[in-house]
Amino acid sequence: MATTAPESFPVHEDAHHDAHADHKPAFFQRWFMSTNHKDIGTLYLIFSIFAAIIGGGISGIMRFELQEPGIQYLTWWAEFLGNPAGDFDSALHLWNVLITAHGLIMVFFVVMPAMIGGFANWFVPIMIGAPDMAFPRMNNISFWLTFMGFCSLMMSAFMPGGTGMGAGTGWTVYAPLSTTGSPGPAVDFGIFALHLAGAGSIMGAINFITTIFNMRAPGMTLHKMPLFVWSVLVTAFLLLLALPVLAAAITMLLTDRNFQTTFFTPEGGGDPVLYQHLFWFFGHPEVYIMILPGFGIISQIISTFSRKPVFGYLGMAYAMVAIGVVGFIVWAHHMYTVGLSVNEKMYFTAATMVIAVPTGVKIFSWIATMWGGSLRFTSPMIWALGFIFLFTVGGVTGVVLANGSIDDNLHDSYYVVAHFHYVLSLGAVTAMFAGWYYWFPKMFGVWHSEFLSKLQFAIFFVGVNLVFFPMHFLGMNGMSRRYPDYNPAFELWNWVATRGYEIMAISIAVFFANIIYAIVVRKKAEGNYWGEGATTLEWTLSSPPPFHQFETLPVIDDKAGAH
């Protein structure tokens, strides 16, 4: 812990020393050479929104293609993106490219940059009373590596990748489709995109762990840290330990593709299932990496607008630790149909079900926090309530899928698609919007419209449920994921899901309208605009906070409830 020793730091007693804290560098330096956690957080948020437009646009193309059986628009899009005219194979390949790009963009370039890069960068240092991150330059390279990874992924769409342009491997990049099945450089560009973004995330993880362990203000013990900081700490450990295994796995893909190694090639004794093990050893912690910061955001919001500390604070913190630890030993529940032995399936079923326990602790503690609280239904609170409901729906279908015997039937069906979109696009993304409206005036100093935020929630809630709830029915009835065409019997619910997408798209228009409202109206936000109940350190600062906050470290009172 840093203790302040003012005598060792001669303070410049010049006239404008107040201005120092708010002195901002010139435009280019500020945004391309930044070493400021708040500016880098803003960069991440802008990047995430930009990537979400592309990733969400891709899901629009997919949804409209799927609204009726047969191939509608794919041939046109394939030609538009540079494939030979009328080539049916390249149209079908484009479908694979779309699902791949949608998955990779949403996971690596939307949710992770927004949650960890954006909100955590902005608020972890502030919440623990630190002036910045431990490694400000490394913070910046984390962002730019993520950005360059995105560039590499975008370039891959315009490279030959087999029967058409682009990497069409699925976000899991399974061999042998990703090795012998995808000649041409597109998949190599995709693999390097993951290398670049992964390196950025590992450095980000090192930065967050070091910051949280070493830069807490005097009196801010681990057990007083706000739950959002706890969630980021656990997330950072998952990133640190899971991503290097992915790096090894995709490096094996790279050498299998280009240098005649046979890691995943049966002709040389290799094993495609090994890739799946390595991938999901990373992939399962990865899904917790996406949701844990959301848990943290929701805890802050529920507590603030119930005007109560979170119920069972320590239980909430250690529930996240438990989810993180157990998350490393359940990976093969993604692989029930590869030919695992019954014993392996029994183990992974049981271990997976165990995760429902700490997750249940969290859900019930949020409800218990609200119980008897003095509730205020502000826009972030409404998004948070929506999160609790939607995430629980995704959670219970997760318990269904955890059963190896049931998953034999549901594997790779739309039931799985419904499940993970309920926890991610309806869980993690809802948490992102909750955090966005909770902190928007804090980050940018001006108010969004509470009315538009609530309107967006109402439309979004209807839209996403219409998109994804019918997918449960489709999956139960045997519709497989990752195909552009389907049995006409599935037409009704696909039509409904596409209408749901349109409604959801309107809610995104309201989101942008809200940003425009904030820019145009410029209604100034006070320091603690949520008033009583908002107790974490960001509410002790102005909105937006000074360019360098806490030039004198805050001291946390023994009795004050930091959480």
Partner: protein, 273 residues
């Protein structure tokens, strides 16, 4: 900017190198991906990217050394660096876990399906393996020995013996370079090719990545040696040296696992070259 700051943390001015480094990384991966598929200029692009990366690292790390000399590395900042290095090494450990996972999968459950492997390890197609108690054992001793010489250098540094520091570092660097040369010699005379079956794949990739880490560690130690001659490092503050030493021990431990698992156990009972 640090005019009014009232704490021991290191608040940095804006810096161009993160962006330049990232861009160089993108140029080199783009060049590599293109060169894999024989596109024109792919190799040149990759080389340009690597040059950019080397310049970036040289400047960035050089700046850190300058900041250390300027006294920016207060005790708490040094603690950050320690955490950072330990966490970086932890992530490196997990990277090698991936390679060992592949190795043990292939060795414990050799493929039954093909005559290439035939359900045995080393695979049937591998007619001879390296004698683990020949050059690999020598390399093990060299690395273990270098672990002691770097500790010698460290103790000399702590006790203010600059001569011992330099001697210990020289020996460590020489042993590190020797290891790399012996490894290269071993690769050139290996009785099995790179790739083509699981043995050749996992052997060369696992030991190759280890060798790459040895080279990186050697470069770190060479930088420490140069800095020792320039008069850097004090008995109380020498984290650059410690980071290099930690990394060197990490590389050493990985080798011990490779030696025991891949060379000795993984080649047990096979014909020796």
């Amino acid at each position: 900017m640090a005019g009014t700051k009232n704490h021991d943390y290191h608040i940095l001015p804006t810096d161009p190198w993160p962006f330049i480094t990232s861009f160089s990384a993108l140029v080199s991966t783009t060049g590599l991906a293109l060169s894999f598929h024989d596109y024109p200029f792919g190799t040149y692009l990759a080389i340009a990217g690597f040059i950019g990366l080397i310049i970036s690292m040289f400047s960035w790390f050089g700046n850190i050394i300058k900041e250390a000399r300027a006294g920016d590395h207060t005790p708490v900042v040094q603690l950050h660096q320690r955490y950072g290095m330990i966490l970086f090494i932890a992530s490196e450990v997990m990277f090698f876990v991936g390679w060992f996972w592949a190795f043990f999968d292939f060795a414990l459950f050799p493929s039954e399906l093909t005559e290439v492997v035939g359900g045995v390890w080393p695979p049937e197609d591998i007619h001879a393996v390296m004698d683990p108690f020949d050059l690999p054992l020598l390399n093990t001793l060299i690395l273990l020995c270098s672990g002691t010489t770097v500790t010698w250098a460290h103790h000399s540094l702590i006790h203010g013996d600059r001569q011992g520091l330099k001697q210990g570092l020289w020996l460590t660097v020489i042993l590190g370079v020797l290891f790399s040369f012996i490894q290269a010699y071993e690769y050139m005379h290996a009785p099995f090719p790179f790739g083509q079956n699981t043995y050749g794949s996992v052997f060369y990739m696992a030991t190759g990545f280890h060798g790459f880490h040895v080279i990186v560690g050697t470069i770190m130690l060479i930088v420490c040696l140069v800095r020792a001659y320039k008069g850097d490092f004090t008995p109380r503050q020498h984290f650059g040296f410690e980071a290099a030493a930690w990394y060197w021990h990490f590389v050493d431990v990985v080798w011990l696992f490779l030696f025991v698992a891949v060379y000795v156990w993984g080649g047990w009972g096979a014909t020796i070259h």
